[in-house]
Symmetry: D3
Subunit: 249 residues, 6 copies
């Protein structure tokens, strides 16, 4: 069973709305590297699970967290679209040459179909596709799928970070990058526990992003979204919830 409150997991602040960046953010919502994918992937793996309870619980905890990431990003898209139809916006890109190169315009459907709201689609307006949700019935294969999703997801987030000059957006992305670090390490820890190699000191992918730009206080904390004191998630003393992380931190 699922619950919510009206808080966001992390603050979302946009200094200057930018509908082109809204388009870019869609990749992290409805793209193959995005948050809807990992949310559904972890939850389907949990619900389909016939294996050890502690993996099922971890998947439920993190799958639930990912829904909060979708929430952050949709909120960020809506804020970046603020005023986009007023006819008064100008110079939204300013001197950011890179943004100008990469993004030719906003997604026209953000205005035409969404009335300045986010969609369940990627940066090109291609809809989210359920085929991306991997739940194979094999825990090790699933964990590789999860590491892969978090690796390409973290690469995407660092590229979005590079694309924007907006301090608010950089701040939100530093949080999401930190969570990707944590989640990569989680799934690697499971692989290690399953006998899939000794993963000590593995750096999160991509290693080109300077970790001091991460919101580091969130990079090594397991987020327990289970609110039931009587039936807590199992595995609180496992490698993904305490002690040294996979990457040696």
């Amino acid at each position: 069973m699922f619950y919510h409150d009206k808080k966001l997991q992390y603050k979302v602040r946009v200094e200057k709305p930018n509908p082109q960046f809204a388009r870019a953010l869609q990749q992290a919502i409805g793209g193959i590297e995005g948050e809807i994918r990992v949310c559904l992937q972890y939850l389907f793996q949990a619900w389909n699970s016939r294996g050890p309870q502690r993996y099922r619980d971890m998947l439920l905890d993190t799958g639930t967290e990912e829904m909060a990431h979708v929430e952050l990003l949709v909120t960020a898209v809506a804020m970046n679209l603020e005023g986009a139809s007023s006819g008064l916006v100008d110079e939204i890109i300013g001197n950011n040459t890179m943004m100008k190169e990469v993004m030719g315009g906003m997604d026209p459907r953000h205005f035409l179909s969404g009335g300045l709201g986010a969609m369940a689609a990627d940066a090109n307006g291609v809809p989210f596709n359920g085929s991306w949700v991997v739940s194979s019935g094999n825990i090790a294969a699933d964990m590789y799928a999860n590491v892969m999703a978090e690796s390409t997801g973290r690469a995407l987030a660092t590229r979005l970070y590079e694309l924007t000059d907006d301090a608010g957006m950089k701040d939100m992305l530093s949080f999401l990058i930190a969570r990707d670090t944590m989640h990569q390490n989680q799934w690697l820890a499971v692989l290690e526990e399953l006998g899939h190699g000794d993963m000590r000191n593995v750096h999160p992918i991509p290693n080109s992003f300077p970790q001091d730009k991460e919101a580091k206080e969130f990079s090594y904390v397991f987020v327990n979204t289970n609110i039931d004191p009587d039936e807590p998630s199992i595995g609180q003393n496992r490698r993904w919830t305490q002690g040294q992380s996979i990457d040696g931190k």
Copy 2:
């Protein structure tokens, strides 16, 4: 922000696993009339909302509930697939002529790709498609989209009910049908409040299903999934949370 516990919103019981019925249930998971669609649709409408807070809160509450419905159905699929690869199952359809007619076999991908787990796809294995998630930026248009989703969703659930002889599955479906009744009435109440007609005594669609087969104790209860005592959902005294329902009950 989202949370969960390890309970299901309603009990899921399967008397005799039936992989063909598992296939049929997929329509209610990843089909256009299914629960992933309404889950994402209500949440996107909430997150994109620039309108009255009380509608936003209701959408968040119910969107969160829909994720619990996905959970119920995925669990039901996995239970119906139990033993499907053992080579020992026989006569799973028995004397249910209708089932035999409608379903030619199980979804081969339930075994080949899912290892006897559910997928984010419909009854034909066609993946969930993000284009079905309607969030138009117009609250009235969105509410018609929601009534339509719950109408076709309830029609689907009653047809699944008709298709199965399994008492456990019928029980679960009677709960989901009851929730569809409630949700149809909710969105109609908003339309009424917005000036879109006088909706009194409107029977939930489809009206061919005898309401005494619903789990009626859940047909007229708003499920508040907001767990924050300090910031409760607004609108607790509205027509969708108390008093006579749209359909006069």
Copy 3:
């Protein structure tokens, strides 16, 4: 059986070709809110119909009309693409800031794949998808699907109206918006007849568009596309063909 003549249902005039607006118009052709969808949806509902003949006839009449709307829009796209490959077009956007913001460029496939012709795709080049064609076997659910399609379709048309400065395009859109008004009212009239509320004085969605910009002479006229004098459509004396409309006009 279907017939045609070589006339358009309404004049299509483009003062100054604009390939970016051509791209935007694609949403109304092959997008989920577009005319191919309603055309097929009404026709499939008619052909699948086992209910009262008068609804079947109305669906056939209006489904046939929608094909004429696809015709208008494809014609408009081709006219807006006129000259787009000549290398001589310049300043097509002029001082329309909003257009500049929303549309980053034309759809490259309009040139590369279509040779300056329209496609069966949306404003992002995502192809029309048959899953959007709702025909549920339940007349009330279908009517909600139809109201929803016309609501989001009318919202789209009013946004296209807002996006363009071209007097010819505004004129064509004022016609399409008027027809959306009519069709919303039609389906609501059926719902009312089926006992789904008292719909008097319901304003067409979205209510933000000033109705005096509609081509009002077309807003309250049922278009009977049935040319057979021996077997006329039934229901000519119903609420959708005569008398006061749903919205009190």
Copy 4:
């Protein structure tokens, strides 16, 4: 502009409803070889046309006819689904071994989603996809696309003919096969006129189907769907409307 009457272009008769054959017929409705595709393809080519008026008119005439073929097939699907949910159907396949081999069951969505109605999808429930609608801006390329569509379409129709024992269905298919013969010949005649080879005595594809099973009275008749006496279609004295056909008949 488009019109209709309430007649079908050819009688549709089903001796014994067969939901499995209904599933097979879907391929001819919403599959890549199906009638929605050719309907939209010919109409888009006509509407986008900048070339000779006589080709444009022919495309409009035949595109309009194809919509009547969709109508035939949807009607046939609905009739084959008659009674499919009653629980009383049995032995629908009887001794037709081939049908038993090919079709494992009906499409579950015909019941679950469509309430025993047809869908805009193929025989596997995969939705119609707008990317199949070819309109390239080059008349010769378009004509090859049309010959290809009619060739694979006629191959499909002859395979459906082979698959069924139902005299009514065989009759309807013999009509559709005859029309495919005619349409192949039409597009080849245009290619010949454009200088693309001497096409005399080319047999319609596939040549494995005995033409005496065609409804031959329809194999060499151009169907003029233009009802306007004041603006008739141009080209009435062309090779596709009179004289010896491409295949020497």
Copy 5:
């Protein structure tokens, strides 16, 4: 069995990287008119073939060549994306008005998802779709599908040629256009051999492109990709491998 070396089939040279042209080139990689489609189409037709060995061999030879065309184009995309994320690129479009009109920006996913690499998608980021791979079991129908693919493919290549001012890119495209000429003629020769018309002096589609801009030395040469001296491809003395070509050259 398949082999490769590290050479390209033709040199790929980019004078000035242009990420917008990279986006346009995607249409020729993963679009419906693109090289992945013909590669898989010819190979599937070969592998599924039950007909004469010489057609099967030709399909294998040419299908294998098409993979080398994908290789050329992906290489060209990567080269055009060089430096696209450096933030230092400017004036990439320069005075090419047409490019500026057609392409609003680069594909944001080239940076966000691909890290400046090509994708299996079209110019709008819509993924390659396997439904485009036609293998009908009828050799004549397949050949029309192949002529159609090469016609629309050649039209696409000539439009790309028109779109760019880069001498390197024009050179590469002149090669690909020449190969399209050859392949059109090949499939027409098969049709002729099968009795589908007399194809002498048929000009390759589109005839608007001046053939002296083709890399003519490659326009009439069959590329035999079969490296096995002991089992050479059959048909080396056929019309597609020697003598006068279909178009009289």
Copy 6:
């Protein structure tokens, strides 16, 4: 540049054609776990590569090999469809209860669209989708994507092995499973070289399949598809081409 000969990489033998197993095999051709995906994925990663030449060469070698796996499987599908339309096949499933459970029938499009040939689609007829081709611009992320693809691919192949009683098909699958073992180990060796853990003695996923059923002589051999003696692939003395494999063998 690519080449081929007319040999298969491994013999394909079908003792008794089974169109239902043909349908199951489609998952390994055009499904997300299938061979078209890995073929394109490795080739795109190679072509887009800006990293060390030895990884690029390995990706080219193995990507080319995967095309030969598509060839094996398409051949196997065509052989399993042999006679499927004759009306004489019976008892194709015999006593294989599991097959009867899993597969309700053959894919109707194998007959209707393919004329008894394979398609670029999965076991449910859902077309191959280019979005599955991961090439992220980050070598480590790509390698995780590759391990994931080979893990789910090997799980699929072992499930197909379990599903069939045909000795020829089991033999072919034992070869494909062996190659999946090799390829998993290759990509893990790259990860190890990149500093992503110590992968010694990692068992190929899934570990439930007894390796003595693999065609073990192919489980630890790098297949060099590069035929150019002057420019051999680099990395011949690396861990993936010689010495002890990742899994200690």
